[in-house]
Amino acid sequence: MFKLLDGPQTLGRGRTFWSCFLAVLAAALIYPVFADSYDVGNFSYFLIWVFMALGLCLIWGYGGMLSFGQTFFFGISGYAYGVLAINMGGGSTTIAALVLSVIIAMIAAGILGYFMIWGGISGIFFGIVTLSATLVLAFFLGQTAGPEWHIGTARLNGFNGMKGMDPLTVGDFYIEGSALYYVMVALIVIVYIALRMLVNSRIGNVIVATRENPQRAEMLGYDVRKYQLLTFIIGSGLAGLSGALYTSWGQFITPSSIGLPAAAMPIVWVAFSGRSDLTATLVGSFLLLFGFQTITVYSQQAALVLMGTLLLATVMLAPQGFVLGVGKLVVDRWTRRRRRDANSTLADAGRLQSDEA
């Protein structure tokens, strides 16, 4: 298990990294004790999107498939949660609604992914098809304002969006505020650890091999289509998790959370962070969401312009991603320093020996 956590596909290994990880986790756990409830709620909101970013990191960074479909699955799962929570009567059934809505998103990913991957769609065309699916869903949901557009008692409500579903509930206890924050932190730790183990496993080896050279991977006896589909389903399922959590958090969802500006956001987060590393994506996405939200308070337009500028700067200056670049720099310097220290210790030992002689 430890071998999988510290494997070659993830930056950040060894005792130092895991000590930092535990320190950050401890800080995250005690944060609600010192922060006010508004900030804790905001942090929960940022963390909701991190699943979608990690999912795209897996699909794009590790699997080599640029998907514009994260908000497509976000929307499917978000609306599915609303429909299920409203029709199942709320309360504890919201937990089942959450699980089912993620499964629905994964089934949708399985169907769309099957036709794309078995149909030989790759490269830029993968992005075009997923973006088309996203825009079609956003457009479709936007014209469902009439009363005839309902599933059971849940009305879709067009651009105004669906509302009236319960938040996540256990018995009579609504999972909100600090409780929601702790659920988010726990889920992120589980998902992050699980993804690290996946990408460092034998399956992960084939996933990155397929990204690097699909023909060579197939020539080693791997049906690369199955690995690509698996990657797409897991990554899209994580977008679905974000969608269901988002709907339960705000108790509403609208088509604008699916459309083009929303669909571009995960690409910016992951590109800026460093698409080929889970840790960089986790840290970078959180920082960007935090920054975006802070600036949005003053001007939403300015925040959007900043996002565009960051994407351009990433493409021009750090195609591998800024956070990953900084991470690699820190690791390089750390390793070099340790080597230098080790060499000087050896030299000292040698001098002592010669002095003694």
Binding site: N213, Q215, M219, D223
Partner: protein, 239 residues
């Protein structure tokens, strides 16, 4: 006994017939070389055998099983292993990981670690194992890819111009490596231009010309065939 049996295979690209009604048999345990001048259809025939192209007509059998409709990965799972013409390795991954990816389908645990070290030593890549594969020289990348193909411990090793870009020393060493694996029972089919290399390794030779079988037989028979020399070997003899 035939391991590969190509029966009446034709491949057309629009109006161009690259391979026309070709029959080819590769017997168990032999090193079989496929030669011919540029444009003869060697690489096309190779790609038909490995499954990268579907034939327009005809059938391909492996170990008496019709594999004509099978994708490349399924053919590899049956016991083929392939090295393409241009080095085709995972350039952004370390050398060791390239070997690990090739080995992991067949070995696990300590057995895989032993095999990994054995291959890296055999290929003279042990000291380069932490380098990215893309940082290796062209010849080393060729070797790495041959190593990845060997990692599958195939019944049939298919090599498309394995020594392209190698120095004479590296070429000779590759030939000896192929011969050593053949001595252990591996069947090898090689598409090759370099006649010195063909002389070093071949037991049987098939000559393709304009998409058709022009001649076939033992290495000695082919070398002495004047018609073959006319279309292909003349210049090489001059060396």
């Amino acid at each position: 006994m035939a391991l590969v049996d190509v029966k009446g295979v034709t491949k057309r690209f629009g109006g161009l017939t690259a391979v026309s009604d070709v029959d080819l048999t590769v017997n168990v345990g032999e090193v079989h070389c496929l030669i011919g001048p540029n444009g003869a259809g060697k690489s096309t025939l190779f790609k038909l055998i490995v499954g990268l192209y579907p034939p327009t007509k005809g059938n391909i059998f492996f170990d008496s099983i019709d594999i004509t409709e099978e994708r490349p990965f399924a053919r590899v799972q049956r016991g083929m292993s392939i090295k393409m013409q241009a080095p085709s390795v995972f350039k952004e991954l370390p050398v060791r990981q390239n070997i690990q990816i090739a080995l992991q389908g067949r070995f696990s645990g300590a057995e895989r670690d032993v095999e990994e070290e054995r291959l890296l030593t055999l290929l003279d890549l042990a000291s380069e194992s932490s380098k990215l594969a893309g940082a290796l020289s062209h010849g080393q990348q060729q070797w790495l890819e041959i190593g990845m193909a060997l990692a599958l411990q195939p019944q049939l090793l298919l090599l498309d111009e394995p020594t392209a870009g190698m120095s004479p020393e590296e070429t000779f060493k590759t030939g000896e490596l192929i011969k050593s694996f053949n001595a252990e029972g591996m069947t090898v089919l090689v598409v090759e231009h370099d006649m010195a290399f063909v002389r070093q390794i071949a037991q049987r030779v098939t000559v393709l010309h304009l998409g058709k079988i022009f001649a076939r037989g033992s290495l000695e028979t082919i070398i002495q065939d004047e018609k073959v020399a006319e279309i292909y070997l003349g210049k090489t003899h001059a060396h």
